[in-house]
């Protein structure tokens, strides 16, 4: 049998078309109402979208931070799934324990990156830093549970809240502009790592902005077990206000030691430097309540006049009834709201591929988190990726839920307003 050339060309063209059609079907699937483009982590038959969680579930950071923060994310998505999911797609969380170890984080990331559409949590500065180049290479969005400023310059990193650097600037704005203390003698004690350097950068910018009289700087290692040198150094300098970019145990050691050697300045704690557990220490609790402030963010726990807080408390009753007041839970819950906004936008655009998710993130503009945090802003340039620049200065009060009481209300200082990323 012979086939005429014209017919042969037609068969060839049809075959090519069929192959192309099969390829296109493989790349994008139909979602009933319109074509939904998908690649990693989306199961169109089971109607699920998988998100990765990289968090310490064991080790010293797990109990105070990792576990409550992750529970916040779980609770939020439990509620989302119960109300039908996102455009009918249920959210599935794939969790891995990083032990707060950058090497374990990288290994966990590599294990699950092809199973997830994006990472809904990567907790910690050193751990997240370890996966920044990987996520850029894999074009995968990562929601970072750290406020390290430099992440704002990384296009695949999603920040939640005001970076550490701006926290310091806002704290000194409160002292100089709100309290009217002119040219205060100030000092800083910071952890000798990336977290501490971010605090120090903010402190130096604040010095220039507010005419602070910097009289003392001291540093400590995360493994230090004595703080006499730092306390004695700041005592000798005569600083009236001392900023602490520290972890809770170090903050407790510094404040306690300084008090013992007769030095009681006003301490201003970076948000991660405070933990409610510090109030259990006899003597230290009084010092914290009388001589320390915390600069941070977030609605007061239990304040049901804030819609987001009322919603969160309702969801806690339904999905995690044993949860105690915890700022990290609130952070995780807020973080999940931002992840939801990215996913929702991507579903609305009918594109939940990694490129589609990045596009959705870059075009988010404002995300209303129901007042849990101030409205968060996002965009494609580094300055636009700083989600907020405002903070609240809190006093420490063991009689209120969450142990923090707002002194300043939410505000953005002039220095933080102008700070460039």
């Amino acid at each position: 049998m012979t086939i005429r050339p014209a017919l042969r060309m037609t068969i060839g063209a049809l075959t090519c078309f069929a192959i192309l059609a099969v390829f296109l079907v493989g790349c994008g699937t139909n979602n009933g109402g319109g074509s939904l483009k998908t690649d990693f982590g989306v199961d169109t038959s089971a109607k699920t979208i998988s998100l990765g969680i990289l968090t310490p579930l064991s080790g010293p950071v797990a109990a105070p931070i990792g576990i409550p923060l992750t529970k916040g994310i779980e609770t939020y998505f439990d509620a989302v799934n119960a109300s039908g999911g996102i455009d009918g797609y249920k959210v599935k969380l794939i969790e891995r324990d990083t032990q707060y170890d950058p090497q374990v984080e990288v290994s966990d990331y590599q294990q699950i990156k092809n199973q997830v559409a994006m990472f809904a949590e990567s907790l910690g500065t050193p751990t997240t830093q370890a996966i920044v180049p990987l996520s850029a290479n894999d074009h995968i969005l990562v929601s970072a549970a750290t406020l390290d400023s430099y992440l704002a310059r990384e296009p695949y990193m999603v920040l939640i809240g005001t970076p550490y650097r701006l926290q310091v600037e806002n704290a000194f704005d409160y002292i100089v502009k709100k309290l009217g203390v002119q040219h205060p003698k100030t000092g800083i004690i910071y952890q000798d790592d990336g977290y501490g350097q971010d605090g120090l950068t903010g402190y130096k910018e604040a010095m220039a902005c507010y005419g602070l009289k910097n009289v003392g700087e001291a540093t400590y290692e995360a493994t230090d077990t004595t703080f006499t040198a730092q306390a004695a150094q700041l005592k000798a300098s005569g600083a009236q206000y001392v900023f602490l970019t520290a972890i809770p145990t170090a903050a407790a050691g510094i404040i306690g030691t300084a008090h013992a050697i007769g030095y009681d300045p006003h301490w201003v704690l970076q948000s991660p430097a405070f933990a409610s557990g510090l109030l259990q220490v006899k003597g230290l609790n009084t010092l914290l309540e009388h001589e320390a402030w915390v600069v941070g963010q977030g609605a007061a726990w239990g304040d049901t006049s804030v819609p987001g807080m009322a919603e969160m408390l309702q969801n806690i009753q339904k999905y995690d009834p044993g949860q105690q007041p915890d700022g990290y839970f609130e952070f995780g819950y807020t973080e999940a709201k931002v992840t939801y906004a990215i996913l929702k936008k991507a579903f609305d655009n009918h594109d939940v591929t990694r490129a589609g998710l990045l596009n959705a993130f870059n075009s988010l503009n404002n995300v209303d988190v129901g007042g849990l945090y101030p409205t968060l802003h996002y965009g494609s340039a580094p300055n636009q990726r700083v989600p907020s620049r405002d903070n609240t200065v809190y006093s420490i009060d063991s009689s209120v839920a969450g142990n923090l009481k707002s002194l300043s209300g939410d505000f953005t200082g002039s220095c933080a307003e102008q700070s460039q990323f």
Partner: protein
Amino acid sequence: MAYFIQLAFAGLAQGCIYALVALGFTIIFKSSGVINFAQGEFLLVGAFIASVATFEWGLNFFLAVFIALLITVLIGVLFERFALRYMIGRPAFAIIMITIGLDILLRTGVVMTGKANERPPATPYGIASGVNYGGVHFGENALWTILVTLICCVALYIFFRYTRYGLAMRAAAIDQEAALAMGVNIRLVYALAWGIAAAVATIAGIFLAINVTTFDSTLGSIALFAFPAIILGGLDSIPGAVVGGVVIGLVQLLTQGYESHIANFVGIGFDTITPYLLMIIILLVRPYGLFGTRKVERV
């Protein structure tokens, strides 16, 4: 001057804690030739049990310390009895790995209780207790740390010098086979060494926890600073462990206090490396440490 004295006093107290940790290393090494990498975690477990006994069980401080001592000594003795005893004659590397395993087990055990974060220490006095003289604060915890370390040193000296078991331990340290031939119970010697090491680590842990105001499961990492102390003093020398610990504590605190004056030259965090720098310098001059025994082998 007050600034210098404040730093020196704190350095002396911190050095005493290093000395107690170093003593534990040295006692085990002298009697069995094993470097116990779990020594730091004995310190954590001791401080943790004392804290739990005080705050969760509502016990008196001294009773809490007694219970902590009892439990850590028991852990040390049982570990020697049921793990190390089967390793006699095995390569030193294998024994070291087993002590690293114990280190991980103890720390994980504390973490798994879920009560190891921002833990308040068991303490009989307030955070500012002490006396002020000439602009220097002599903290009660630091004073007790120095005094108790002295008492421990004297007690250990009397034990090793004048008691039957002390003599047995010294004999086993010099020549195990000869000691065995003379009827020394080597198993008892090992058990005693582990028990004493666990006890001094617990005492160090309780003082250290009070010193840092709150503690977590990383408390045992202080053992890293006791290593230069024992190497500097001489791995097999008990007086060397004490002198090494005190020297390291003093050098570290004084460097911390004055490094900001030479920050342009040395940068920040110089105090972290000074113990190791000092150790290297001493070893270049005296390869067996300040008080270590020079090994002479017949070839």
